[in-house]
């Protein structure tokens, strides 16, 4: 009987000897390490619920996995950027979040949507190697400096949901609704482009190997640990336009929301927010959580030029932009 009960437990039914488990799909690398150490393990210690982590290569990789499992979902909690969560919600893959089940939602500075709660925010900027770049890049326009010929690594369209392309459009008088200025401006960047990257790992790998000395748009957590006094790595947040990226949590439809809500509630707690954010340089959303001290020297004190991208437009047009990017910029 005991064996039978265990087998039932393994197959997903509630058995008496079954350990409570939850499956979370999130990022790998430094993000995944911090999630494991600062969220999953303390959560298990506190609640006895085991957290199984499934790694996604990119936000869209995660979405594709969920689409493939739509009829039989295997993931309870999914973390991704707000743009990708919006797409998943449109496809009916997510379930509503309840403030009753997740009381810490009330403490969040950013509310998110009905199906997607903001977990933390972070800022994109320019990474560069001070030992290889002859000047200090400060603005997005500095990427076009002739001294950076063949030195700049540029993100592919899908990286951070085309935010780099929107930035380029904005500095050339366009926006996400008018991307012609983006392509004409990017075409003039070609002499400086060393290569293209599509993942976080690649964005830093090219700098480490010396194949590129500037990463046109990188995410602070990817280099956060490298930003020490004697390190040649630098991260700069150009003043105009300023962007902020929301990373969100969602419950996958078709799974029991109880344990997932419990984990999301923990992810929003002061303890988890401070631990995760201080490990990799993120900005917490819990009103009572303190931002890491080190961030004060990096994050701008003034947000006069913050631009909020219309993600519906991005999701609608990213396919067309990718085709144009491949044709006109990559010139494959």
């Amino acid at each position: 009987m005991l064996v039978l009960g265990c087998i039932m437990g393994m197959s997903g039914a509630t058995g008496f000897c079954q350990e409570k488990e939850i499956v979370v799909m999130t990022y790998g690398g430094v993000w995944g390490d911090s999630f494991k150490n600062n969220i999953a393990e303390p959560f298990t210690k506190k609640t006895g619920i085991k957290v199984n982590i499934v790694t996604q290569l990119t936000n869209r990789d995660g979405l594709t996995k969920l689409m493939a499992q739509k009829e039989n979902p295997q993931i309870d909690v999914w973390t991704a950027d707000d743009a990708t969560h919006a797409l998943a919600a449109e496809r009916g893959l997510l379930t509503s979040l309840s403030e009753k089940a997740i009381p810490n939602l009330a403490l969040s500075k950013h509310k998110g949507t009905e199906t997607s709660a903001v977990w933390y925010t972070f800022i994109p900027g320019i990474f560069y190697r001070s030992d290889k770049v002859p000047f200090e890049p400060k603005t997005w326009e500095d990427l076009w400096d002739g001294r950076l010929k063949g030195k700049v690594a540029v993100p592919e369209t899908v990286y951070t949901s085309a935010r780099f392309m929107v930035v380029v459009s904005l500095i050339n008088g366009g926006s996400e609704k008018n991307m012609d200025p983006c392509f004409s401006k990017l075409a003039s960047l070609k002499p400086n482009i060393a290569m293209f990257y599509r993942t976080d790992a690649e964005s830093i790998k090219f700098l480490e190997s010396g194949e590129a000395t500037v990463c046109a748009m990188g995410l602070l957590p990817n280099v956060y640990k490298l930003l020490e006094k004697d390190s040649p790595y630098r991260f700069v947040v150009p003043p105009k336009p300023q962007l902020i990226i929301f990373n969100n949590m969602a419950l996958v439809k078709g799974r029991d929301p109880k344990l997932g809500s419990e984990l999301i509630n923990y992810m929003l707690s002061v303890e988890a927010q401070e631990a995760h954010c201080s490990a990799i340089g993120l900005i917490p959303v819990n009103k009572n959580a303190k931002a890491p001290e080190k961030l004060r020297h990096i994050v701008p004190q003034k947000w006069d030029n913050l631009y909020l991208i219309n993600l519906d437009v991005v999701n609608q047009d990213i396919g067309k932009w990718t085709e144009r990017f491949n044709k006109e910029i990559k010139g494959l």
Partner: protein
């Protein structure tokens, strides 16, 4: 009447199951390549040739096909030129050398493919061994671009596929009756002539199998162009990945995948025909 033993057929069930899974996936991909997708990844019902018209009607997409064929063919040729002598030495050398080569090839074969490509990057990169040597010897003022282009991808594909070529050719070379070579030499043929007129023609089935295996392997390469192409040199698999997993345009990805599959099968069919004719020519001599 003698009763037939069903055991061998039962042993084939797992393989049949896997084949079934493979064909179901392929069939699904084929079906959706005649549909229309939406930006959110939804596949609309109906039948259309739009994806194929778009793929073959735009020279840009064909540009993914031609470089893929080109680099796959070139790297197969180089793998053959390097792999054949390696296989020959492997088969004909003394046990010590043979053991060394076998172990080296097995280590190469079983090491992580991604790590092998990173090793290539350490050699070809701006700060790689070659560029450091060129800079140290003052042969070049600045690093030569050996990566993030067709050359880099070609080198990666060649190295990645080498064990397939070597083992395939070696398995045929091993079965060649060496008394035929001795007979040719006893009749006055030099070693080189013996190789050209006896060994090489008899090893043709191995060469043919090696070429087909390595070409197919290289044609569908994804990791090598992703790591060594740097976005400047993408192959057809990178295009399919981008469409399916990043843009969620499964119908267009399906059309790209099927176009590649059909064109590759046609090419392999002609290659097989050519090798068969060559084999017949040799056996009738």
């Amino acid at each position: 009447m003698e009763k037939r033993d069903s055991t061998p057929y039962l042993f084939n069930l797992p393989a049949l199951f896997l084949l079934g899974l493979f064909f179901v996936g392929l069939w699904w991909l084929f079906l959706i390549s005649f549909k229309i997708g939406s930006p959110s990844g939804e596949i609309q019902s109906g039948f259309t040739l739009k994806q194929y018209v778009r793929f073959f009607g735009d020279r840009f997409y064909l540009k993914y096909l031609w470089p893929s064929f080109h680099v796959a063919a070139l790297s197969t040729l180089v793998a053959l030129l390097l792999g054949y002598p390696t296989a020959y030495i492997l088969v004909r050398s003394k046990p010590g050398m043979r053991r060394f080569l076998t172990v080296a090839l097995i280590i190469h074969f079983f090491s992580s493919y991604v790590m092998r490509m990173y090793a290539v990057m350490l050699v070809l990169g701006n700060n790689g061994i070659i560029n450091r040597f060129l800079s140290w010897s003052s042969l070049t003022a600045s690093p030569i671009k050996l990566m993030y282009n067709e050359f880099g991808v070609g080198v990666g594909l060649t190295l990645g596929a080498m064990p397939f070529m070597v083992f395939t050719v070696a398995s045929v070379l091993e079965n060649i009756d060496t008394t035929l070579e001795s007979a040719a030499q006893s009749l006055g043929a030099t070693e080189f002539r013996t190789f050209l007129e006896v060994t090489l023609p008899l090893s043709l089935p191995g060469i043919a199998a090696g070429i087909v295996i390595v070409f197919l392997y290289n044609m569908s390469a994804f990791v090598t162009p992703a790591l060594l192409g740097g976005g400047h040199f993408d192959m057809i698999s990178n295009f399919i990945y981008e469409q399916a997993l990043e843009l969620m345009n499964f119908p267009f990805a399906g059309a790209g995948a099927f176009s590649m599959l059909i064109l590759t099968l046609i090419l392999v069919f002609f290659l097989n025909q050519m090798f068969e004719r060559m084999n017949k020519g040799i056996s009738t001599k």
